[in-house]
C-alpha cells in the first residue's frame, strides 16, 4: 500500500521517508525520488517488495522520530550538500552526527534514543543521501547533475527493499 504524506500510523512494517523542499530545486532530490517510487510500483504490495509506506515532508529530529515510530525499518532519503554533487551514499543511523542546541530541532538519533527510553518501538533506520550543490535556489525540478543520480538512488532503494 502506498500512502503519500501519511505518517506515524505504521500500517506497514517499512517506510521510506523523504526530507526536503520540493520548491528549492535540488534540495527536493529526496522528494523527487519518493514521487518516482510512487509510480514505479516498487512500493506496491503487488511487487515482491511487499508493503511500504512513503512519507514526505517531515523535518526536524523529534517530529521525524515521532513520525517513524511503529515501523520496523525506515529508509530516510535526503539531499546532502556535504556530499560531492551526484554522489549517492547509504549508511546507518549510527554514522549520522547528532547534535543538540538547535533552537527548534533535536538530533534524530537523540530523539529516537529518548523515545526508546520511554518504551517506544524504535525502527532500524538507514539514510540514503544524494549529493547536491549547497544553497539551492527556489524553483522546481532538479539540476542535470542531480537528476542523473536519481536512477542510482532508485537502485539503492531497490536494494534496501530487497533486504540488501
Amino acid at each position: 500500500m502506498v500512502v503519500m504524506g501519511r505518517s506515524g500510523n505504521a500500517s506497514a512494517a517499512r517506510a521510506i521517508v523523504a526530507l526536503g523542499n520540493p520548491y528549492r530545486t535540488d534540495d527536493g532530490a529526496g522528494i523527487a525520488l519518493l514521487r518516482l517510487l510512487a509510480v514505479t510500483g516498487d512500493a506496491s504490495p503487488v511487487t515482491r517488495h511487499g508493503e511500504v509506506e512513503l512519507i514526505e515532508g517531515v523535518h526536524d529530529g523529534l517530529r521525524l522520530a515521532e513520525a517513524i515510530l511503529g515501523y520496523e525499518e525506515v529508509l530516510i532519503v535526503d539531499a546532502a550538500p556535504w556530499l560531492p554533487v551526484g554522489e549517492v551514499r547509504r549508511f546507518g543511523l549510527e554514522e549520522l552526527p547528532d547534535r543538540t542546541g538547535y533552537p527548534h530541532g533535536l538530533g534524530l538519533r537523540g530523539a529516537l534514543e529518548a523515545l526508546r527510553r520511554m518504551g517506544e518501538g524504535v525502527p532500524a533506520v538507514e539514510i540514503l543521501a544524494i549529493g547536491v550543490p549547497g544553497d539551492p535556489p527556489f524553483g522546481e525540478g532538479l539540476s542535470p547533475e542531480v537528476e542523473r543520480a536519481i536512477p542510482r538512488a532508485l537502485a539503492e532503494v531497490r536494494r534496501w527493499l530487497s533486504g540488501d
Partner: protein, 483 residues
C-alpha cells in the same frame, strides 16, 4: 565505526551567526546577529495560481508550516473577498490553537527547557531531551504522550501530519464529524491537564531558581521597545485573528485596527552586513540598534502579545497572567527571559481555547466554504508561535500571483534579538571568558525568542547550527565557536 563530518556552515541558508566585536582592551564593543533570509522566495511565487499558495508557503519552514498555511489562506480570503463560514472558522481556529500549544510545549520543555529545568550551567551532554527525561522521567513521558495526541489532532484536521492541506480560500476542505469532535475533545482535555501540571512545575522548580531569577531580572536584558500583536474580544490575545494592536515602550496604544493596514506603519532598515531587513515603526524612525521609547524597534511574540493585551481569553491563563504581572509589577514587561513565562501563559490559553472550540456546536456544521469574489489584493495576518506573520499577495484577474511578500516573526524580532544577544554577551565580557559556556549563554538570550532560522531549508541532523565569531577592532578573527 566511521563518522561522517557534516560541517554545519555548508548550508548557508540555514545557520545563525553571531559576531562579537571587541575593543582595544578586550571589552565587548558591539554584537550583531546574522540570520538567514528568504532570498528569492517571493519571486518564485509569482505566476503561480493563488490557491496553491497555502501549500507552497508552508514549505518555507519545517518548524511552523501551520502558521504559513493559515496566514496564506487568510490572505487568499482577503484577495477573494470571501466570507469564511462559522464551521470553517472554528475548525481553523481550533487547529491553530493546537499548533500554538504543541509548538510552545516543545520549546518550553525540550528546546528552551534545558535552560529552565536543568540550568545554564548543566553539562553540555545533558542540556537536551535526554537530560530532561533523566531529571523528570514521568513528566517527560507525559509531555511526549500529550504532544503526540495534539499532533494527531493537527493531522485529523490538517489532512496531513506535517504539511496541512485543509485550508482553502473562503474556508476549509471538509466538515468534521461528531466522531472527530469526540477525538479532539478527549485530546484537548489532556492538553488542559498538562497545562495545569506545567504551571505547577514552573512555580515549584523554575521560578524559584535563583539563576533563572537572575536572568529574568537582569537589568541589561530588560530593555524597553515597542510591541505588536493580534488581540480579539476584550483585548485578549488571539492567535488566529483579530485587530492588530501596537503599544509603545511605555505601554501607550499607538495603533489598534485592521491588521493589514498596520503594514503602512512599518518601514525596513537595511544593513550592509546582513540580508535581513530590520522593520521599525515609521513614526519613531530608525535610530540604530538601540532600545528605548524613542527608538523605532519593536518586538513580537509571547512577550509582545501579553504586553498588547489587557487580559487573557480563558480563566486559567488569566490567573497565570495575573501572577506574571504581579511579579513584574505591571506591564509593559521588557525582560528578555520573560518570553518563557509569557509562552507558558499562552500555552495555557491555547489548551483551554482548544477545549472550548472543540465543544462549539457549530464545529461540525456542513457549510465550510464561502463564496469567492473576483481575485484582487489582500493581506493575511496571524500570530505564529514566535510572533506576527504577514502574507501579502496581489492576484491577477485570472487568479495568478502577481506580487507576494511575507514578513516573518523572526524578521520583526531581528533587532530585538540582536539587542538581547549584545546585552548577554556584554555581561559575560566582564568576565573575559570566551569559550563554549559563552556560546550557551548567548544562545540562551536568543533562544528566549524561540527564533526561527530554519526558513526555506531543512537539516537532517535536526540541528540549526550557530556560529559565534569574535573579532578584534582591526577586523581580525580572534576566535570562532561553532556547534
Amino acid at each position: 565505526m566511521k563518522r561522517l563530518t557534516i560541517d554545519p556552515i555548508t548550508r548557508l541558508e540555514g545557520h545563525g551567526r553571531i559576531l562579537l566585536v571587541l575593543g582595544d582592551e578586550g571589552k565587548l564593543e558591539d554584537a550583531y546577529l546574522q540570520i538567514p533570509e528568504l532570498k528569492g522566495f517571493e519571486l518564485f511565487c509569482r505566476g503561480r495560481r493563488g490557491e496553491e499558495m497555502p501549500q507552497i508557503t508552508e514549505r518555507i519552514c519545517g518548524v511552523c508550516p501551520e502558521a504559513h498555511h493559515l496566514a496564506s489562506a487568510k490572505c487568499l480570503d482577503a484577495c477573494y473577498k470571501a466570507e469564511v463560514p462559522e464551521p470553517a472558522r472554528i475548525q481553523r481556529e481550533l487547529f491553530y490553537n493546537v499548533y500554538i500549544f504543541s509548538d510552545h510545549l516543545l520549546h518550553l520543555i525540550f528546546l528552551g527547557g534545558p535552560d529552565l529545568l536543568l540550568g545554564a550551567d548543566a553539562e553540555k551532554a545533558k542540556r537536551n531531551i535526554l537530560g530532561i527525561l533523566e531529571a523528570y522521567p514521568e513528566f517527560g513521558k507525559k509531555v511526549v504522550r500529550v504532544r503526540a495526541g495534539a499532533q494527531k489532532v493537527l493531522e485529523l484536521i490538517g489532512g496531513k501530519a506535517i504539511h496541512p492541506v485543509f485550508a482553502l480560500p473562503g474556508g476549509v476542505a471538509k466538515p468534521l464529524t461528531e466522531g472527530d469532535r469526540a477525538m479532539v475533545e478527549e485530546r484537548a482535555r489532556a492538553m488542559v491537564e498538562l497545562a495545569e501540571d506545567l504551571v505547577a512545575l514552573f512555580h515549584e522548580k523554575i521560578l524559584p531558581d535563583p539563576s533563572f531569577q537572575s536572568y529574568l531580572l537582569a537589568e541589561e536584558l530588560n530593555f524597553p521597545t515597542h510591541y505588536m500583536g493580534l488581540v480579539g474580544d476584550g483585548l485578549a490575545p488571539n492567535f488566529y485573528d483579530g485587530a492588530l494592536r501596537i503599544v509603545s515602550a511605555e505601554g501607550e496604544e499607538i495603533y489598534r485596527g485592521p491588521a493589514g493596514e498596520a503594514l503602512s506603519l512599518i518601514e525596513e532598515h537595511v544593513e550592509p552586513w546582513t540580508y535581513v531587513k530590520f522593520p521599525y515603526l515609521k513614526e519613531f524612525g530608525w535610530k540604530g540598534h538601540v532600545p528605548g521609547p524613542d527608538s523605532g524597534i519593536y518586538r513580537v511574540g509571547p512577550l509582545a502579545r501579553l504586553n498588547v493585551a489587557e487580559r487573557m481569553a480563558t480563566p486559567m491563563a488569566q490567573e497565570e497572567y495575573e501572577r506574571y504581572l504581579d511579579f513584574f509589577g505591571g506591564k509593559p514587561v521588557h525582560a528578555t527571559f520573560a518570553y518563557h513565562w509569557a509562552r507558558l501563559v499562552e500555552l495555557v490559553q491555547a489548551a483551554e481555547a482548544t477545549l472550548a472550540l472543540a465543544r462549539e456546536p457549530a464545529l461540525t456544521g456542513e457549510r465550510v466554504r464561502g463564496e469567492l469574489g473576483a481575485p484582487g489584493e489582500g493581506i493575511g495576518v496571524i500570530e505564529a508561535a514566535r510572533g506576527t506573520l504577514f502574507h501579502h499577495y496581489r492576484l491577477t484577474p485570472e487568479g495568478l500571483v502577481e506580487f507576494a511578500n511575507m514578513i516573518v516573526a523572526t524578521t520583526h524580532n531581528a533587532a530585538g534579538i540582536g539587542l538581547s544577544v549584545k546585552a548577554m554577551a556584554k555581561q559575560l565580557a566582564e568576565d573575559g571568558v570566551w569559550d563554549e559556556s559563552l556560546l550557551n549563554r548567548v544562545e540562551m538570550a536568543f533562544r528566549a525568542y524561540d527564533p526561527c532560522l530554519a526558513c526555506a531549508t531543512h537539516f537532517l541532523p535536526g540541528e540549526m547550527p550557530l556560529v559565534v565569531e569574535i573579532y578584534g577592532r582591526d577586523g581580525t578573527l580572534r576566535k570562532r565557536i561553532c556547534r
